[in-house]
């Protein structure tokens, strides 16, 4: 049974540092590019770390800013001050 979690972000300047942070911090993640969007899949779980995005942006970044770039996702969400995580419980 599939345990793929997934996040789809717009392919924009705002989203690129997030996409980079995800691919660096989540080994084994696969990136699919479609017109206008990028879909990232990974088995089991996937985490966006605040610190990792901030390093790339060179400024403070609130994980809730992801709302501006998010297109879709699959998985149970857990969000806090320092991370945004998708995971399946099974």
């Amino acid at each position: 049974m599939s345990r793929t979690v997934s996040i789809t972000l717009q392919n924009t300047d705002d989203a690129r540092p997030i996409i980079e942070a995800i691919t660096e911090d989540n080994p084994g993640a696969t990136v699919h590019s479609y017109p206008g969007i990028v879909k990232i899949d990974r088995e089991g779980s996937l985490t966006v770390h605040r610190a990792s995005v901030e390093t790339r942006l060179g400024r403070d970044w609130d994980p809730q800013e992801i709302h501006l770039s998010l297109v879709s996702m699959a998985g149970n969400l857990d969000e806090d001050d320092d991370y945004f995580r998708l995971a399946w419980a099974h």
Partner: protein, 505 residues
């Protein structure tokens, strides 16, 4: 405000949701939330609810305002720079017409549905999330109307989208879907729209549609699409949280929820047939086939989702296997219906070009060459002989999904599928076992369906002739309907292209 910003996300969320609720003192809760119990859902403790986005109203306004600013900047420059001339092809605009007449009014219905749920669910957490979603859906309706109004300045078929949504035969498919959801109880609405539609099916609507718009040069639609879609992740999360919450609260909720999941999956699958046809036939430059989108977003993503929910005893929706098998046929059968009834549609139709048919053969190796290519080639030959095929008989409709009875038997694409049930001495017809089951579960509700063909025959749609019915739809014959070739839209586009070539010299 400053003191609140120093709190962590979890504390802030607790204060600005649960912290804003109160216990009524002079009215019983059952008088304040009169619809909370009749569906049989049992809730032990509303405080167990948590919104994983932990979005509070103050942040909500901040991010939504930012989204709107970005969107309107793009719309403004699209209009200023005559973005409509940069589309891949004039045919593309018909996908936008179908969107405005079929989907945008449904966004408005979703707004009203969530406003109702946001008032009537006893828990404060889901009530606030539903209020945000209600505002989102209103924003979606408004931004879509605003964006597509630019096309209305040049192209036919956009001018009466809301009037048409309430009257035109195929638009009763999405309309009745939302009417059905909104006339259900608040928990069923939550499962119908929040879970089945938003979580399981919305990606199939928006992601391929918007990616398709991007690929076909429709900058305006892409922008409202992704702006709306950024809200959808929150809607999807609300949908999955609702279902988990109901299943965790009481074991008696499982059979009720399962029945809703089965019903709304099938209802949604039928509505999305319009998207299937849009992807495979209406986009001049194609991104992926309906079959591929179904594999990614239902088989794969839905598979992981239902494996996760299995711990509560929930199983994948009934007839999911039938829907997956239908993915081989759905778009071809739907486009065939619209081709035959082009005289009564508010967008233009055409036959796939030889190149497009090759693409369809490649994407549908198990069905296209055998069942659909011969049909399209025969119709092309009839067109060449000056005998373009029109179907002038009004079709029988499925009482539940309201789609013409053109779908075939599971496993036999050469036989039309007919099902029926008797209720209080009358016979009702269905396109599938899925639709028949839904009727049999609530015959009192569906025996009252407003079926466009029945209404025409009963004399409720302007008259008995095609002309009178089209006038009642406010459809402009010769401009809004019929084939793309020979339409005023196409003539205008050809002129634009000639002007461009002349300038390019």
């Amino acid at each position: 405000m400053n003191a609140i910003n120093k709190l962590g996300l979890k504390q802030r969320y607790a204060l600005l949701t649960n912290g804003l609720d109160w216990e009524p003192s002079y009215q019983p809760k059952s008088a304040i939330f009169p619809y909370a119990e009749f569906e049989g859902i049992k809730i032990r403790d509303w405080s167990k609810w948590e919104d994983p986005f932990r979005l509070t109203m103050d942040s909500y306004w901040k991010y939504q305002a930012e989204k709107e600013r970005k969107l309107y900047a793009v719309l403004d420059s699209f209009a200023q720079n005559n973005g409509q001339t940069g589309l891949s092809n004039a045919r593309y605009v018909n996908a936008a017409k179908l969107f405005l007449t079929g989907i945008t009014p449904a966004e408005y219905q979703a707004h009203r549905g969530f406003a109702h749920v946001g008032r009537h669910i006893p828990g404060v957490g889901p009530r606030i999330a539903a209020q945000m979603q209600s505002l989102d859906e209103l924003r979606h309706a408004q931004t879509q109307i605003h964006t597509l109004s630019h096309y209305n300045r040049f192209f036919d078929g956009f001018h009466e989208f809301s009037h048409m949504h309430d009257r035109v035969w195929y638009l009763s498919v999405p309309k009745s879907f939302f009417d059905d959801a909104r006339t259900a109880g608040p928990f069923e609405y939550f499962i119908a729209i929040g879970f089945a539609f938003e979580y399981v099916l919305t990606n199939l609507l928006f992601v391929p549609f918007m990616s398709g718009a991007a690929y076909n040069g429709d900058l305006a639609t892409v922008t409202f699409g992704f702006s709306a879609q950024s809200d959808e992740s929150r809607h999807m999360t609300l949908g999955i949280e609702v279902i988990k919450f109901l299943l965790e609260q009481h074991p008696d909720n499982l059979p009720i929820v399962q029945k809703w999941v089965d019903k709304w999956f099938w209802r949604g699958h039928r509505v999305l047939g319009l998207v299937a046809m849009m992807m495979d036939y209406m986009l001049p430059k194609k991104i992926m086939s309906w079959r591929e989108a179904w594999d990614i977003y239902f088989t794969q993503a839905g598979g992981a989702l239902f494996a996760d929910l299995a711990r509560y005893g929930l199983r994948p929706p009934k007839y999911a296997d039938v829907a997956t098998a239908e993915a081989e046929h759905l778009s071809h059968q739907n486009w065939s219906v619209f081709y035959q009834y082009t005289q009564a549609a508010a967008f233009h139709t055409w036959l796939p070009t030889p190149g497009e048919m090759d693409w369809l053969s490649e994407k549908y190796p198990n069905s296209f060459d055998q069942h659909y290519r011969p049909r399209f080639e025969m119709w092309a030959e009839m067109e060449r002989d000056g005998k373009r095929f029109y179907n002038n008989a009004l079709p029988q409709l499925c009482t539940v999904c309201q789609i013409p009875m053109a779908y075939t038997e599971p496993g036999d694409p050469t036989t039309i599928c007919f099902r029926h049930s008797e209720h209080k001495g009358d016979r009702y017809h269905f396109c599938s076992d899925g639709c028949k089951d839904i009727f049999d579960g609530e015959p009192e509700k569906y025996s009252q369906s407003w079926l466009p063909v029945h209404q025409i025959f009963q004399g409720n749609c302007g008259g008995a002739s095609m002309e009178e019915v089209l006038a009642w739809y406010r459809l402009n014959p010769g401009a809004d309907n019929m084939d793309q070739a020979g339409s005023p839209d196409q003539a205008m586009w050809d002129q634009w292209m000639r002007m461009r070539d002349r300038v390019a010299g």
